[in-house]
Symmetry: C2
Amino acid sequence: MIKYVKEFTKEMHRISESTIHRLSLYYRTLVGLQRERHITVSSRELAKRNKFTPAQVRKDLSFFGSFGTRGLGYPVSELKDKIASILGLNKTWNVALVGVGNVGSALVSYKEFSRQGFIIKKVFDNDQRKIGKNHKGILVSDVRYLARELKEDKIEIVIIAVPASEAQKVVAEVVSAGVHTILNFAPTNLKVPGNVVLRTVNMAMELEHLSFALTKRGRIKEL
Amino acid sequence: MIKYVKEFTKEMHRISESTIHRLSLYYRTLVGLQRERHITVSSRELAKRNKFTPAQVRKDLSFFGSFGTRGLGYPVSELKDKIASILGLNKTWNVALVGVGNVGSALVSYKEFSRQGFIIKKVFDNDQRKIGKNHKGILVSDVRYLARELKEDKIEIVIIAVPASEAQKVVAEVVSAGVHTILNFAPTNLKVPGNVVLRTVNMAMELEHLSFALTKRGRIKEL
């Protein structure tokens, strides 16, 4: 087992951002397959349900060693558990949210988080009218004590949902508290030290994929 | 000019999802550079600000022909405008939002959308208590008339923010109205015809990148 973990950890370095994204999608497909009472699944079926090529699926799953069986495919439940263990979905994580404005407020009640083990333990804001009040079942703390409280509550992941102009300051506090994994919803480029993992979700950027597609279509029609 | 457009449209087919994502990031960097009064920018600087390699930046920008000057770099304003034109950010788009729950409500007031030209013209819901009422300056329409109103209002992009169980039904209506670009916030895999461009934003999946990073670190420490 130790040998397996060691080898696996070596492999984990080679897993790219886009592989992680695809693993998240496979995980969701496998949950669905289990619900539909499938015992095994072929790389073809996994590919089809996610619009990837079977070769891509086989390559991604090769990280787990050769445990798919030719002709039979992969055992659904086992593969689901392996992916969950890699993505850290087989445990719960202590999450704090900074900023209870429109976006922050929606995130507090986003059920998918707790369903996947991401438990929002603390929320922070700088608005005196919100501090000390109950917000959807969670007491709003004063952002002035952010670093101290992140440590006390053993927070592992921080979600930033403050205005763009405030976000870099929050990052500094979060990093000083020793939290090195940040999900940012502020529409701005944040600077973080090399040992910090930062993901930024910019919802306008998602729409730009669509306006690109529309622009492309428009151009093709013009020809 | 026509020749340029034709060649360019040919090129657009080769632009991948991840290239579009990087173009969105370059665009934001260029807006920042312009604000800082830079006239030109090197591929090295563009790379550094986005944590890409200079080779990646040069490859991405090669789509626009050879207009960077060796030693001087790219003209900031011109490059920004070219990227805006490709991403469709040099015009406005008519957007409709379906579902004014927690997430939908946050999206209505997400200022970055209108700043980039995505104008939410209509919002729909199935809750009788919301229909006919003003929601943050927009009248909430009855989702029963979705297809008809999407056509009447010449909606080009639909954002879906309904519960997972309702989302596929909404897709059918949207597609029947001839809208072929959808941004989905419902945490579910949606099926769409081949000519529809669908992007799904799953905020829990973003967190999984972070729990993966934490899991990896934990494993490495154990060794």
